[in-house]
């Protein structure tokens, strides 16, 4: 038997403002769905858990012990993985390594974030400190501001317009109507997006994802366990992880893409032995509208300069060349930082199992997930196969 690694169960909580739930409640919701999603997996088959979360949003320190304890996963190993907004796919990569090496057979990846206990201003401050606190945060940085600087450079270099950016928001919000776990499940018109208030020019509030509470869970297994505990295992075919210096001033131009994402894509395509044109469906990290256009270029869905054309021509809509973020994306699902990567993978697993419902891409066989940490400091690219 070959030694492939599969995802055998996926789950997520509802995303959004969740005043009803603590981090325990949110992770329970995701874990419960993931266990139910497997074929009769008993909890004692899980021989390690990885908890993914970005620090600073809630008071709990060393949360892996709390989550693993609450979900009764002791005394098996558990620890926290942190890579800002890419935490849960870094945990997935770690789980793959555990399973591939034979160290563990079945690993649970549990991502979460509880954000709305804090004010928006306080969240901006925490996020701004996911920039360089020595030479950038002292000027009053925030994630919208950083991405706005990439947007401005993109507009200047490629003729991208504010309307192009707004079209990404319109597309993703449209699809969120069919995602019962999304924070916003409604359409926004182009006019509405363009007239929303400016947060950091040129980005407006509807160019930005919302702070959100939520959790996700992925259960990863070796081939023998996958065949036993999944009706339709989804195989991890390619993995890539790249990095970029945190400080913008320490990076290389052009400021219209992320070196980390290009490197992650290169690794993942090589490992999976596929080309970008082989992708049937993709989830990309649209924390801001500009981030989705940047992803098209970094993932080589098109040349960087053609990324505004891709959205104008509806090439990433359902029925287009590569449907992207047809679960609503971060823009409308909400972005509970540590849970987001797992939620993207959950959507792709559903697609590859043919369970996408109204959003199903016909005959989807190969899927790509792109999960970015902060201002592109870390990027994970995951390629899955039915």
């Amino acid at each position: 038997m070959t030694n492939r690694v599969a995802i055998i169960g996926v789950g997520q909580s509802s995303f959004g403002k969740r005043p009803d739930s603590s981090i325990r409640d949110l992770t329970f919701e995701a874990f419960h769905e993931a266990i139910e999603d497997t074929k009769n997996l008993e909890r004692d088959e899980i021989d390690a858990s990885l908890v993914a979360s970005s620090s600073g949003y809630d008071k709990q320190r060393s949360p892996a012990a709390v989550i693993a304890g609450y979900l009764e996963l002791n005394p098996q190993p558990t620890f926290l993985t942190e890579a800002a907004c890419a935490s849960s796919t870094v945990a997935l990569r770690t789980a793959w390594s555990f399973v591939k090496s034979g160290l563990h057979d079945v690993v649970a990846v549990i991502g979460y974030q509880k954000m709305t206990d804090m004010t928006s201003e306080a969240i901006q401050e925490v996020m701004g400190r996911a920039g360089d606190v020595m030479f950038e945060s002292p000027f009053g940085t925030s994630m919208p501001a950083y991405y706005a600087m990439f947007a401005r450079a993109h507009m200047d270099a490629y003729g991208t317009t504010e309307e192009d950016l707004a079209k990404v928001s319109v597309k993703n919000h449209y699809y969120s109507q069919y995602n019962p776990k999304a924070m916003f499940q409604k359409e926004f018109t182009l006019e509405k997006v363009l007239s929303s208030r400016v947060i950091a020019s040129p980005l407006k509030s509807l160019d930005c994802c919302a702070n959100s509470d939520g959790a996700s869970c992925l259960i990863v297994a070796n081939e023998a366990k996958a065949k036993k505990f999944a009706e339709q295992p989804v195989w991890i075919k390619g993995l890539g992880l790249g990095s970029t210096a945190m400080s913008l001033a320490s990076r290389n131009p052009p400021f219209t893409g992320f070196e980390s994402a290009k490197e992650a894509a290169r690794q993942a395509y090589a490992m999976a032995s596929i080309k970008p044109t082989d992708i049937d469906v993709a989830e990309v990290h649209d924390c801001f509208t500009i981030a989705e256009l940047i992803a098209y270029g970094d993932l080589e869905f098109c040349k960087r300069e053609d990324s505004p054309k891709m959205i104008r021509n509806e090439e990433t809509h359902l029925g287009g060349r590569i449907p992207v973020n047809i679960d609503g994306g971060l823009l409308s699902k909400g972005h509970p930082v540590g849970a987001t990567g797992g939620s993207q993978i959950r959507t792709l697993v559903h697609q590859l199992r043919g369970e996408g419902g109204k959003m199903q891409v016909d005959g989807a066989k190969i899927a790509l997930g792109h999960n970015v940490g902060g201002i592109g400091m870390y990027t994970n690219v995951t390629i899955l196969e039915a």
């Binding site: 201003e121 606190v133 020595m134 000027f139 925030s142 919208p144 208030r197 131009p253």
Partner: protein, 137 residues
């Protein structure tokens, strides 16, 4: 010590290059130069992370450069709300280094165009706090 005086709100107090803020207070824009390989850093670094040299000297930085990208922040994080709106920018000095800073308060968004000439200058925020900022030439 000394670095806690840098910027509008500081998050770091202790660093090898603490005297940087003393130079800014004296209206001097200083970077560091590696005595081994000659590489010049701005913002300054306590060691040469390129050739791993540990001996550095302070050198004056000519602040001329050009605008790489920018944004006007209307919604500020905690600690910066009183400053809105403010313009953040990435510039590239003619000597090659990229610098992240705010624009001087008298600069308006409408004036800005990527590629335009800039001048980076030391400035005092109040009695204690110091920084550097971009001005339009």
């Amino acid at each position: 010590m000394g670095f806690e005086r840098f910027g509008f709100v500081s998050y770091v107090s202790q660093a090898k290059i603490g005297e940087f803020t003393e130079y800014l207070k004296n209206n001097q824009l200083m970077g560091t130069k590696c005595k081994k390989c000659g590489k010049v850093y701005f913002p300054p670094r306590g060691d040469c992370t390129s050739c791993l040299g540990e001996e550095i000297e302070w050198v004056e930085i000519q602040g001329e450069g050009k605008l790489v990208t920018f944004t006007q922040v209307n919604f500020a994080p905690t600690g910066f709300q009183k400053d809105v709106p403010y313009i953040l920018a990435l510039g590239q000095l003619n000597s090659g280094q990229y610098v992240f800073a705010r624009f001087s308060k008298d600069v308006s968004l409408e004036q800005l165009k990527i590629g335009m000439a800039l001048q980076l200058v030391p400035c005092k925020i109040d009695e204690e706090r110091v920084t550097y900022e971009f001005q339009v030439l």
